[in-house]
Amino acid sequence: MKDAIDYIKKHLSMDDLYRYLSAKQEVPEFWENKVLSTLDEVIDLVELKYTANHYDMQVSPSENKIDVDRGRLTLYSESLSKHLSRSNTIWLVGATLGYKLERVIEKSFITTPTDAVIMDACGSVIVEAYCDWIETQIVTEEDHKIAPRFSPGYGDLDLSCQRAIADLLSLEKRTGIHLNKHFLMTPQKSVIFIIGNNMAMDNMVCNHKCTLCTFKQCAYRKGE
């Protein structure tokens, strides 16, 4: 946990944090300090937990089909088949910041909503940095270049596949993440993602996930 926290502190994106807080220009020093101290507070509140499994995988491009672990799980998606076209193994990962942060944010919305808004944004960038750290833990050099993280809901990969991934990973038991009927996760600051090995350089067009997303009007979309 300490390693993860150190990594998160070092690597989290302050740009994204301010973007989530709708900052269009530099913020006054008072507010900068407030954001930083809230970030520290949130880092103290997180209960990091992840589970990751590594599987053999086969893509059938003509059918947009991805077979995981010799048929234990089959995903259908054109975007993901393209994304993983040169991979032959994948990792499925579920990660969360835990329930405590969730409760504190909920409480803050009642007492000090300003803190709640900042905390929520901090949670979003922390969970991203946490996923980065998880990658450093599970991927070895022999896996060569790996693809950017891909999550259900990106491109045409339907969110409903989260159920099968969660079952495969025993997500509930190992991380406490629960899916509801419509495949959304509790705690909110949780992520399910997929990474593949052997990623060809020509697929690495972008280092962030916004380009994979079809929703062009999104308020948080990064500039292209």
Binding site: M1, H54, Y55, G98, R103, V117, G153, L168, N180, L184
Partner: protein, 815 residues
């Protein structure tokens, strides 16, 4: 027989089922429980292997055999559980047939019961009653099919564990073991620690508690050594075979049977007699434990003397030094709280709870008794709301027996019940509730004759309460006696009798005491002085807990001083921390007594600046001063709303960022709170600019956007009926009808839940066409909003406020 063995014998449980099935090539999407029917031989083989390895108890393959998990599988709970038990019995018969002296070596079958797999309210949507019914069904079939005991395991939610335990105890005659799964931080995913788990489950009447899954015996050791110091109950320990590791693409566990045995041997020394394994363990691990049982007898358990303690799901309070019970969640004499209860303004109650916690309360008294309310229903609702935010234990305060029972049942923790007294009727109705739900209770020293004048009679009533409680099986460590304070103005010569009684109850009866102190000063001037003095005296006579207003610094200060002078606050650490900044204070000035003297015109300007800069701590005072010369309505219309508009424009133009916008809103919230107070006393019109229903649509659990919109709307003077997240269409429509609402705001953050938004809009248009609908959320855009027939699309909270303003303006013009 097995019930007794759980209490005093060595019992070896089996190892993993799930990981064994995976090793047998269980396909994803195939329910492990369905194999009971399709492949019964497999289970006979697994169970028999565990019996042969030495297990005394094997668990059926029914971890997920509840109607929720089996839904859509084509198998009924009955078919699955019956078959699973049959497979286990068949394995036992085979074992008995093969074993020569099996009558000396009886084997038992535990109905294995895992979590339902859905989160319970308030975190999730599954209700107490639904969860209870699911467990009940599974357990009744398990008992009928021939199980010998029920093993509730791998629970991470203490509330769900309580529900499962109640379902087992109330519907079957089988012994019950309840086992939770913890993380490295010593808590379950849902935040329960070992002490709270023990405090809650011990009282409910399960036969043993347990620890299983998560990690290996090495990591589990600390939890078990904590537990043996806190309870005398038998403890079942079933760790994993270490931590899971993925090598290539295969999951393996890192502890060998020998290492497993070595660590379990340490727990054996702590007196653990019930042992087994969880994920990754197999016959080899169980054999190793069998050898351990032969080689090493269990150590002597520490005898624990139970203190008076209560707990929520995540926090235990032990009454071993002066304890503060916050009294402010009681509507008697509290106008704002009465209003809040009548209007379902739960935010107000939560704020009041949080404030008392901040002021040092250890437990909160909760009373919702108002003649116009359905008290039991309201009590359950308020408990749920408060427990969704606060971990502090609650004291359930009601004179309505139905209310006490339902609250004790649905409280997530060990309930402290306020109160029972020496009257026959009270003893006969309250004590069974305390026993059934494993609660603690306050015993008032009064009976059919009223409050006795003398200490002797009060001590006798206390004795009677304790005796009667013990007859119900309630240990006196769960009883706290209130010797009742009399008023000095009416019964001055009897005041000391309460104190004498406290002393005798502590010394002679050896139970803790509690007192509502402020009664003593009723009818006399300068009540604070009398209250504080009386509290200090009562503490000297042995008072354990005081029910008081933790915001009263004189009272809490008296307790802090008492703790220093009686060597409870060692080295005066807490005292110095709290009061270190105060140097020889003669009199603490009230900050409100020194108003800033300003010209009328500059006061309005100043409020504007306070809002713009978000100086929320100064808002109320400035409003107070403005109210001397302006009406509440004109303060809102002439200062607050124009300033908010300016702040909103600055946000839109990117001059300020979101936290600044919210900070201004928070400041306005404080100003409004003061303005509302002024309206309660004055005769001015309501400040409400109109009512708006807000909800995050069904199946969507994201509410940040909706919460921001709520804050901003409230600050424009709109009354917001916040229905929360994951709200079904019918609930939205009902709220519209109940409140005669003409504007609804709906939020969705995921593409998959926009369909819910569509359905909600359709239902509103059909059943409550007078309402206009604003939609927003990251996945929406104006075109999509139009497609699903929303009346407006708002890109952010600020735009929602602008739309709401013009909506109500038009509405007023048309009137």
């Amino acid at each position: 027989m097995i019930k007794q063995k759980i209490q005093d014998s060595d019992l070896l449980f089996d190892g993993a089922m799930g990981t064994k099935l995976q090793n047998e090539g269980l396909k994803l999407g195939v329910l492990p429980e369905s194999l009971n029917i399709t492949n019964p031989k497999l289970f006979e083989k697994i169970h028999l292997a565990y019996f042969n390895a030495g297990a005394d108890v094997i668990s059926t393959n029914t971890f997920g055999a509840n109607a929720k998990k089996l839904d859509g599988s084509g198998y009924s709970v009955e078919a699955v559980v019956e078959m699973a038990v049959k497979n286990a019995i068949s394995a036992r018969n085979t074992y008995y047939a093969q074993s020569k002296r099996h009558e000396l070596n009886k084997k038992y079958i535990a109905l294995d019961v895992g979590p339902i797999g859905q989160l319970i309210e308030p975190v999730g949507k599954l209700t107490f009653d639904e969860a209870y019914a699911l467990y009940k069904e599974q357990m009744l079939i398990g008992e009928k099919s021939g199980c010998d005991l029920i093993l509730i395991e791998t629970q991470t939610d203490l509330f769900e564990s309580k529900i499962a335990a109640l379902a087992a105890l109330e519907n079957t005659n089988l012994p019950v073991i309840c086992s939770l799964s913890f993380e490295e931080n010593g808590r379950t995913f849902m935040g329960t620690d070992v002490e709270s788990m023990i405090t809650v489950l011990e009282g409910i009447g399960v036969d043993a508690i347990g620890f299983n899954c998560s990690f290996g015996p090495k990591e589990m050791y600390d939890l078990v050594s904590q537990a043996v110091k806190l309870t005398n109950m038998p403890i079942l320990v079933q760790p994993n075979a270490g931590l899971p590791k993925v090598i290539e693409t295969i999951t393996v566990y890192d502890t060998t049977p020998k290492e497993f045995k070595d660590w379990m041997s340490k727990m054996r020394k702590l007196g653990i007699r019930l042992m087994g394994g969880c994920c990754g363990t197999d016959e080899a691990y169980i054999e190793a434990l069998k050898t351990l049982f032969k080689e090493q007898a269990a150590g002597e358990r520490i005898r624990v003397k139970n203190p008076f303690r209560v707990a929520s799901y995540a926090q235990t309070v032990t009454f071993n030094e002066p304890t503060i019970i916050g009294e402010r969640l009681n509507p008697t004499g509290k106008k704002r709280l009465k209003e809040a209860l009548k209007n379902n303004d739960f935010d107000f109650l939560i704020k009041e709870a949080l404030l008392q916690i901040d002021q040092g309360a250890h437990v909160l008294d909760l009373n919702v008794g108002l003649p116009e309310l359905d008290e039991p229903k309201m009590m359950v609702q308020v408990i749920k709301k408060i427990q969704s935010i606060c971990e502090i234990p609650l004291q359930i305060d009601s004179s309505n027996i139905e209310c006490l029972e339902i609250a004790a049942r649905k409280y997530n923790g060990k309930p402290l019940i306020n109160s029972v007294n020496g009257k026959e009727e009270s003893l006969n109705t309250v004590l069974p509730i305390v026993k059934k739900y494993g609660g603690a209770v306050i015993g008032l020293t009064l009976d059919e004759e009223g409050i006795p004048k003398d200490a002797d009679t009060r001590v006798n009533i206390a004795k009677k309460i304790i005796k009667r409680a013990e007859a119900y099986g309630i240990d006196k460590s769960n009883i706290m006696i209130d010797c009742l304070a009399l008023t000095a103005s009416a019964q001055q010569k009897d005041v000391m009798e309460s104190l004498k009684a406290i002393q005798r109850v502590r010394e002679e009866l050896n139970v803790v005491t509690v007192l509502g102190v402020s009664n003593v000063s009723f009818g006399l001037p300068y009540r604070q002085l009398l209250n504080k003095t009386f509290l200090t005296m009562a503490l000297s006579y042995g008072l354990t807990a005081a029910i008081l207003n933790p915001g009263d610094e004189e009272m809490t200060g008296a307790i802090d001083a008492f703790n220093v002078l009686t060597y409870k606050d060692i080295d005066s650490k807490k005292y110095v921390e709290k009061y270190g900044h105060i140097k020889n204070v003669k009199r603490i000035e009230n900050s409100h007594s020194k108003p800033v003297i300003l010209k009328e015109s500059s006061k309005g300007h100043l409020l504007e600046e306070i809002i713009k800069q978000g100086r929320s701590d100064q808002a109320a005072q400035m409003v107070e001063e403005l109210l001397l010369s302006k009406s509440a309505l004109s303060i809102v219309d002439e200062i607050i709303i124009p300033t908010l508009n300016e702040v909103g424009n600055n946000f839109e133009q990117g001059k300020i960022f979101l936290p600044q916008l919210i900070q201004s809103a928070e400041t306005v919230q404080r100003a409004f709170s003061r303005l509302k107070d002024s309206l309660k006393t004055g005769k001015q019109d309501s400040l409400s600019k109109g009512k708006i229903v807000l909800a995050t649509v069904e199946h969507d659990v994201h509410d940040i956007g909706k919460n921001i919109v709520k804050v901003i709307l409230e600050n424009y003077g709109f009354e917001v009926i916040d229905l929360g997240k994951d709200v079904p269409p019918s609930v939205v429509v009902n709220a519209c009808k109940d409140n005669d609402v003409t504007l609804v705001g709906l939020s969705a953050l995921m593409t998959s839940t926009v369909t819910s938004m569509d359905k909600t809009i359709q239902l509103i248009k059909k059943e409550w066409p007078k309402a206009k609908i604003i939609v927003g959320g990251a996945v929406l855009n104006p075109q999509y909003a139009k497609m699903i027939h929303a009346d407006h699309y708002a890109k952010d909270a600020r735009e929602t406020a602008v739309i709401a303003q013009s909506h109500f303006k038009a509405l007023n013009l048309n009137k």
